[in-house]
Symmetry: C2
């Protein structure tokens, strides 16, 4: 298993400010790893609203089912995340394990289990021994503090090579509010590790319904527009929490996502989601190139998305990029197999701004040396112009290297 | 690029008998390769019927468009195949190139261009210089002979590591008829090489309409049930030719696919398709394991197919098999992401007959040592029982190894 930090890791890590109403603490509960933290408790003040979006897998993990059920209440007092065990495909044991964790956490922070949110990441199919949380969560509740965001982001890592955090401040009414988040994972994480997890927190006073609408809209062009290997985890979870503490500084209470006062907030919120999801792509297993795929001129945005995803998930496109080859023949192939409207003879393709194919054939001005030099860059943009309509979309992925195979296939050797 | 023969190549290569009405010849036309044959001419006697199925790509190659148009006539006098250049994404030049090749071939064998069928495999986006066929096809037409099937299968190879042929004989009425075929490729073939090509020949007297119906039905559970990397070529072509020469030995003329006299023939025909398509999986790029995926208990056969394909195309499942790991957590993931009806708590999974998961959790009788030993076998069967209905399907694939990355990504280094 690789431990070197991805060469695509962000150069600068932001200072993470405190968010009123949010306190964090981590511990080593010995779930699976040795010598590192593996459990995070985020204690949330009374009145915190919550929203969530989850994996579309038909075989979701027990914590995903737990969170889906608890979301109905709309309020949260704590988030408990463990790494090392995904509590997925664990049958009745898994369900019992979430219940026990919920009970222990509720007792620790003094609330109902319905206000506890859970996420687990790690091995699939192993029973999760929730008794390990007994005692641990109580101590964490006592020691939880407004700082410690980086420690939190580290405790939820599995094979991630760097902790992922993002933050923004923005005006809501006349008050300054903060939006901070953390994420881990990249598609299905190896070996056996499953899950993309992300958690976003704000002190803005936003109702659960409005927060849910924001989250659902925001995820479309951020987390849902990232793919590492096309493999959807059983445990993907994105939760947003709003403590409402900024109301004390005069921030207006927002009950509807369409409230015009929310506009700058929505922009900042989406920027935090975009930042975190890009970091997930930057930490794709074995990734050496961050790849942005833009499809324009499609018959609709949805059609552009499907074509972009077909390109982003093509092993042949991804290996070509690993080989620093502007192999537009493979891009044509991936466009062709997407099943979406496309006219070969109208197709143009660019790599990092250099057009290599035009009107269904090689661009006459194509310069091999120029494009070869461009392909050495760690960030590669593939732009496909279909020439059919106004549909446009963008997805992020990474290249496919031998390191991916080593991470996912070598561990039995 | 790897040149070693795949360890999964069939141990025995069949003796390929002559088929009355079919003559073959190969030559080195210097399309791209040096020191090897790269063009195949198959001359067909008058009265030969033809059927074909092609890539579903929206960006098909020029030869695919040519064949689709010529199929309407229902008769064939020659097949011309070249390797080294796919004549795909070549715009108007590509269309002109197929026309010139058709004209040269028609003159060589003495027929109309409408009775010429073409297939090209190799690099995408390079203009194919069809003048190279001038003179060559005339000589091939003169030298074409009923033997030479292995030479033919070799001339159409690109990065294939072994030539792929299959044959069967069967009674039609009271006459013995022969069905022989050849294939090349596996998904999109590297580097830049595109195309799965397969050609099947018989002396049975079968109408073009009946042959087309047979081919369309036969391909569903053979070529369409094989995936190497989920990447659909711009050039996939499967053509079937029936010379009708066996009518002279008393074989009845068949005009309808549903003709009951055709039953044994259909079985043999499908067996040849199955044999060839399995050889394609056995020559998957970098493959070290042949993987059979069986999904049963689905709500329909189509649903079982989609789930089986989701498993077969999952990079994480494929790398796990390369690592000889019975990683059923990843199989659960791939079932879950397929978007088809599935109930986690009814799911059972076996590897090579050893059940590892049952009723949505690890099988209590699971024996790590036993299943680890089974995973060392070069042929791996993954069976998933969904417990929902009677839908069942089967697909073939191979594992995903570092060699795949090397073949597809290293050639620029």
């Amino acid at each position: 298993m690789s431990t070197a930090v991805s060469p695509l890791a962000p150069a600068n890590v932001p200072q993470m400010p405190a968010i009123a109403g949010v306190r964090l603490a981590t511990a080593a509960a010995g779930i699976r790893y040795k010598g590192r933290t593996d459990v995070l408790l985020v204690a949330l003040d009374k009145g915190t609203t919550v929203a969530g979006v989850f994996t579309k897998s038909k075989c979701p993990s027990a914590p995903v089912e737990w969170c889906r059920a608890k979301l109905r209440g709309g309020t949260a007092r704590a988030l408990v995340v463990n790494s090392g065990n995904a509590n997925a495909f664990t049958g009745k044991t898994g369900k019992a394990s979430t219940k026990l964790t919920g009970d222990i956490a509720a007792k620790a922070v003094g609330c109902k289990p319905d206000e506890i949110f859970l996420a687990s990441t790690g091995v699939i199919g192993e029973p999760l021994d929730a008794t390990k949380f007994d005692g641990v969560l109580g101590k964490l509740s006592e020691s939880a503090a407004p700082d410690g965001w980086m420690d939190a982001a580290k405790a939820i890592m599995t094979t991630d090579t760097f902790p992922k955090v993002a933050t923004a401040t923005v005006k809501l009414g006349k008050a300054k509010v903060t939006i901070s988040g953390m994420a881990k994972g990249a598609g299905m994480i190896a070996p056996d590790m499953a899950t993309m997890l992300a958690f976003v927190f704000t002190d803005a006073p936003i109702s659960a319904a409005a927060l849910q609408a924001l989250l659902k809209a925001g995820v479309t062009d951020t987390f849902n527009a990232v793919t590492i290997d096309g493999d959807t985890s059983t445990s993907d979870t994105l939760l947003a929490f709003a403590t409402g503490a900024a109301a004390a500084q005069g921030a207006p209470r927002i009950s509807r996502a369409a409230d015009p006062r929310l506009k700058p907030f929505v922009k900042a919120f989406n920027a935090v989601l975009a930042n975190l999801s890009e970091q997930v792509a930057r930490d794709g297993e074995g990734a050496r190139k961050l790849v942005e795929i833009i499809v324009e001129g499609a018959t609709s945005k949805a059609s552009a998305r499907r074509i972009a995803m077909s390109i982003a998930n093509s092993p042949l496109v991804k290996t070509a990029i690993a080989g620093e080859d502007a192999n537009w023949g493979r891009v044509v192939m991936a466009v062709g197999k997407a099943g979406e409207p496309a006219d070969r003879d109208k197709l143009s393709i660019s790599f990092n701004g250099i057009r290599v194919a035009k009107s269904g054939a090689r661009d006459p001005s194509y310069n091999e040396a120029e494009v070869s030099a461009a392909m050495k860059h760690p960030e590669i943009q593939i732009k496909v112009a279909l020439g059919l309509g106004k549909g446009r979309d963008r997805v992020l992925t990474c290249d496919l290297t031998k390191e991916y195979i080593a991470i996912n296939g070598d561990y039995r050797s």
